[in-house]
């Protein structure tokens, strides 16, 4: 007996439905469990919800097609491209980056490479909010990237351009948030919500906050270029998605630094001091007390 041909059922359509529903379910589950924030910036969540609805609708319209004869023979092999991400998405757990993962090809520190050596120029050209976003990470990587002078040049020019285009918008965002940046009993308490804003604020007004008490939570980040008593209680900052996370934080001096294990979460109580690091004046925390603490629920911080 001759087998019933695939032509009579549209296998291709069935496969597509499986793919679409697979992605829709995965997206739905990640949103449901909040894991979505390990992958993308919160502002993308709304779009992902739309995608879920769209995919379900397309699958819905595809269902009748399965039971129609397939008219044109199509090569279903390219659909395999979609299988791999699905398998990966479901099998591999969402994972947060820590300093360990960064060490792979220095994954996420590069950002800084584009703005070293410009701090003075930047200050000279503009005191606007935008470029601060980049400066505060300078501390990590100065030495490494001396070679990239060319690109720095263009970067710094670009930075001044940034100001022209986006000042108003950025300032308004910062203005609207300003009232949230409040000292509690004269101490700056940085938490997940105001982390990036506080960093910008303090870098912008080092003089104003010099000597201020501060409380920071972050994971211990160490680097070869730090002195023995230096570490960073860092947070991972996500600008857009997991492809661009990078550590941010204040350099911190603590005499018992050796006792701190890399990647453990700590709460640092200390004082902000303005000090030189590799030739730049940056805010540094002189730690009085460092205590272990629990990992926060959302371990990334998001600018904007």
């Amino acid at each position: 007996m001759r087998g019933i041909k695939t032509r009579n059922y549209n296998i291709d359509a069935a496969f597509k439905i499986a793919m679409l529903m697979g992605f829709a379910i995965f997206f739905f589950l990640t949103i449901q469990s909040g894991r979505v924030l390990k992958y993308v910036h919160p502002r993308n969540v709304l779009f992902i919800k739309f995608a879920v609805i769209a995919m379900v609708l397309i699958s819905f319209f595809l269902i009748p097609e399965v039971f129609k004869p397939q008219r044109i023979r199509v090569n279903s092999m390219p659909l395999l491209f979609f299988v791999l991400p699905l398998i990966m998405a479901f099998l591999l757990p969402a994972q947060s980056f820590n300093s360990n993962s960064i060490s792979y090809g220095d994954l996420k520190l590069e950002r800084n490479s584009r703005n070293i050596d410009d701090s003075e120029k930047k200050i000279e050209y503009s005191n606007k909010s935008e470029d601060k976003e980049d400066i505060y990470i300078d501390e990590y990587s100065d030495t490494k990237d001396q070679s990239i002078v060319d690109s720095n040049d263009s970067e710094y020019k670009e930075d001044t351009y940034v100001d022209e285009y986006s000042d108003t918008e950025n300032e308004s965002i910062i203005d609207s948030n300003e009232d949230e940046l409040q000292l509690i009993d004269g101490t700056i308490i940085m938490d997940s919500d105001n982390y990036v804003r506080w960093m910008q604020e303090i870098y912008e007004n080092i003089e104003k906050y010099n000597g201020n008490k501060i409380q920071v939570t972050g994971f211990v980040f160490k680097d070869d270029q730090f002195n023995d008593n230096e570490f960073v209680p860092a947070r991972m900052m996500m600008v857009c998605c997991a492809a661009d996370v990078q550590p941010v934080g204040f350099l911190c001096r603590y005499e018992n630094e050796v006792e701190l294990e890399t990647d453990t979460w700590v709460k640092v109580h200390g004082t902000i001091t303005k000090d030189g690091f590799k030739g730049n004046d940056i805010p540094i925390i002189e730690a009085d007390k460092v205590e272990n603490t629990a990992k926060p629920e959302v371990d990334y911080v998001f600018p904007f």
């Binding site: 009579n8 502002r43 791999l84 994954l107 857009c240």
Partner: protein, 541 residues
């Protein structure tokens, strides 16, 4: 047992009846009860020699009946055939008979075997010009295309025809027959049995090499997962790298899929609800105004570069001047509102990237258009028939004929969007995969040395854009991941050159335009993009 129905399509005089005669003599059919249904009267009848007891011959024209659900059902009930061969009327839409087989009652009794399309090569071009739609449908739907009467056709001509048929239907078997009528070639083995077995075997093509690499990766990946599950640490592999890769890969997909879907829906809505004629009317014939419309037309006509080539080809065919159409082709994918939005989202803290992208895109598009005006094409740029115009999408190709209700249109709109999602999405998944791989395994030091020089970085980024073929609605997110490593100028290379020219666009261009023109165009675009980006970047950034 269900009846197997073979359908023979083709125009009058293309050799359908001769083919059926031959088919009936096949040894494999000797035992079967066969019903032949003819829907038209050709010059040649079914040979009486062939007529045996187990073959029933019906002509719908003589019986003055339409081939419909009831008629077909009655035939099956009456003769209980093992096989039905339908010689279909060449002037009717093949679509019509296929829709018969969507009915439940028909599906219970029979199934479609092979659809065989006979093409008379000597008249192919005449029919293509006059009855292009019907012929195209016949070819697209066929499992097997028999090229008939090739003896009288020049080699060069024949090659072109063969190519245009291949363009329409990549999967069908092609048979060539020198002169069908006079001497039926015994070379043509009509292997009924194998032809009715599903041909879903893996055929080894070059395109499949990539797939096998992909499969190997999947297998390797599974091995890793299993090993991890059993905590076998025989080989000390660090899985965190795979995890990082996974995170980057999935996150790129997660944020780009929604934008892709928006793009697909918009283009599907336009495709289904707005006719091409309306769009063509929008382009003024006046030269300067034409360029202006072409540059900013994309704002109102939001298609990404994945859909732009067929549109451009159609614009040229409808009389829009070539430079204007090319300008439109280059600028529309960049000035597309969805592209602008996604670029803004990908570089939230650097809105100037979006502005540069639009600016460079428009300047380059205009420059290429003007150069084409200065060096006008002497020969026609389009291929004789615009094969590329048939959309890849199964649904619109077949169902866009005639008027449909709103509900039906919405259904097609969704199906079309889904189809596009998969056809375009695969390029995107591939692009995201490679970027994540680069991000994970290539140490930064290599890049900083390779990409120190702006010029070289620009070339590298343009090459990546070309090879990745990422849809312009989502390429900003991929560009984003290069952000740390290269200068803004090189990012521009990726964002501006990518939508204008990439591998998949190139293939689509070759499908609709003459080869020499495409090569010329590619060279123009590449050189102009590089020079302009290189110098403008210095001036501006």
């Amino acid at each position: 047992m269900k009846t197997c129905v073979d359908i023979i399509t083709g125009f009058l005089n293309s050799g359908k009846t001769t083919y059926i005669n031959e088919l009936l003599q096949d040894k494999n059919l000797l035992e079967d009860r066969v019903v032949v249904i003819q829907c038209e009267n050709g010059e040649i009848g079914i040979e009486s020699a062939v007529l045996k007891d187990n073959i029933v011959f019906i002509n719908t024209l003589e019986e003055q009946k339409d081939l419909d659900v009831k008629y077909l059902g009655d035939i099956i009930d009456k003769y209980l055939p093992d096989r039905i061969i339908i010689e279909y009327n060449g002037m009717l839409e093949t679509e019509k008979i296929l829709s018969l087989f969507e009915k439940r009652s028909v599906r219970k009794k029979c199934f479609i075997g092979n659809i065989i399309c006979l093409v008379d090569v000597s008249t192919f071009e005449v029919y293509m010009n006059n009855l292009g739609n019907i012929l195209r449908n016949q070819i697209v739907l066929a499992d097997r295309v028999v090229l008939n009467k090739i003896a009288n056709t020049q080699e060069e001509n024949f090659k072109r025809i063969e190519k245009s048929i291949r363009n329409l239907n990549r999967n069908a078997e092609l048979f060539k027959v020198p002169l069908y009528d006079e001497e039926f070639p015994k070379k043509l083995k009509i292997d009924v049995d194998t032809s009715s077995i599903d041909k879903s075997k893996f055929s080894l093509k070059i395109s499949n090499i990539f797939i096998s690499i992909f499969l190997m990766f999947v297998i390797a990946y599974f091995t890793f997962s299993v090993m991890r599950a059993f905590k076998v640490n025989v080989i000390n592999i660090d899985f965190s790298e795979i995890k990082i890769f996974n995170m980057i890969f999935i996150s790129i997909l997660m944020q780009a899929f929604p934008f892709m879907l928006v793009g697909m829906f918009v283009s599907s809505i336009m495709h289904v609800f707005i006719s091409n004629e309306t769009i063509v009317k929008l382009f003024p014939k006046k030269f300067g105004l034409g360029f202006l419309t072409a540059m900013f037309g994309g704002l109102l006509f939001p298609v990404c570069e994945c859909a732009i080539v067929p549109v451009t080809a159609r614009l040229v065919k409808k009389g829009v001047s070539l430079p204007v159409a090319v300008t439109f082709m280059l600028s529309a994918p960049i000035i597309n509102p969805i592209v602008i939005t996604s670029t803004l989202y990908a570089f939230p803290e650097h809105p100037e990237i979006t502005i540069y992208r639009i600016y460079f895109g428009l300047v380059i598009a205009l420059a290429v258009g003007l150069i084409l005006t200065l060096f006008p094409e002497t020969k026609p740029s389009l291929l004789d028939e615009i094969n590329g115009l048939t959309c890849d999408c199964v649904y619109c190709n077949l169902e866009m004929n005639g008027k449909q209700s709103i509900g039906e249109k919405i259904r097609i709109m969704f199906l079309h969007a889904g189809e596009e999602f998969f056809s375009v999405g695969k390029y995107f998944v591939l692009g995201a995969f490679l970027t994540s791989l680069i991000q994970t395994i290539v140490p930064r030091d290599i890049f900083s040395e390779l990409w120190v020089r702006d010029g070289l970085a620009l070339v590298v980024m343009m090459a990546i854009a070309f090879l990745f073929s990422v849809c312009s609605t989502s390429d900003a997110f991929i560009a984003r991941s290069f952000w740390d490593r290269v200068s803004t100028g090189s990012i521009m290379g990726f964002l501006v050159f990518g939508p204008m020219m990439d591998v998949k666009n190139l293939f689509m261009l070759f499908a609709s335009f003459r080869k020499s023109f495409v090569i010329k165009l590619v060279i123009f675009i590449t050189i102009i993009s590089f020079v302009l980006l290189y110098f403008l970047t210095f001036l501006l950034l």
